[in-house]
Symmetry: C2
Subunit: 140 residues, 2 copies
């Protein structure tokens, strides 16, 4: 029912997408998919050059107000024996630069050859995991 | 930047997986992937027979305490021109039975020929959308 530790680590390094939950001003949960990379024990996600709804992204405003976040990596498959998820609960902060994180993002996503790593002024979400829980539908 | 209405409706009817954010007792966001079906204007997700962490699922305890939820349908693709998401903000409630919802779930997921639709006593999450926002990286 839990993923083996080595598989959890491999997926945290390599899985291409996660869903980030933050807390809106009124306390409601807010959700958005993100790309991310791991560096220095944290998970990093840039406010990148993919098209954005105008204005400061809600995730940024939310994290400024309340750093508590959850991040979900998961795999859906029509074969329900192949399901798994990894939930990271942690604290997020905003950074304007981190050399190791930027290198990890560029290495993980060749898309950044085309898409700017930052939409405007450099801005990275840094997520420091406090608790990581895993689940899988099959014994491995 | 927004999905066409017809595509949004098609995806809300047919997309196989969503990620559900609820609020934990301490106000933190909680995240879990769910299967769901649409019926009668609501989105429904069963506490089904897929293997579960023992005890009452956190999503159920959270919704009993605070009905505010967010649901994210999204598609990740290495081609960043193909990205889209649909975010449903709404209120969730717990139901022990709904004939139309159960039929919609069984019709959408042939997996329920093998996996029990309910893990124990019938229990459905019902999500009534209050706001639906869509985003896509490409003009369509």
């Amino acid at each position: 029912m839990r993923l083996p530790d080595a598989e959890r680590e491999r997926l945290l390094d390599g899985w291409p997408v996660a869903r980030l939950a933050t807390l809106a001003e009124d306390g409601r949960p807010h959700l958005v998919p993100i790309v991310f990379a791991r560096a220095g024990g944290a998970l990093w996600s840039p406010i990148d050059g993919k098209p954005k709804i105008p204005g400061t992204p809600a995730r940024v405003r939310n994290i400024e107000r309340d750093p508590r976040v959850a991040l979900l990596l998961d795999h859906y498959d029509a074969d329900w024996q192949q399901l798994w998820w990894i939930r990271v609960e942690g604290r997020a902060s905003l950074c304007d630069t981190d050399t190791e994180a930027e290198a990890a993002l560029r290495s993980k996503y060749p898309q950044y050859h085309e898409v700017p790593l930052f939409a405007g002024e450099p801005l990275l979400l840094r997520i420091d995991p406090e608790r990581v829980l895993t689940w899988t539908s099959s014994s491995r």
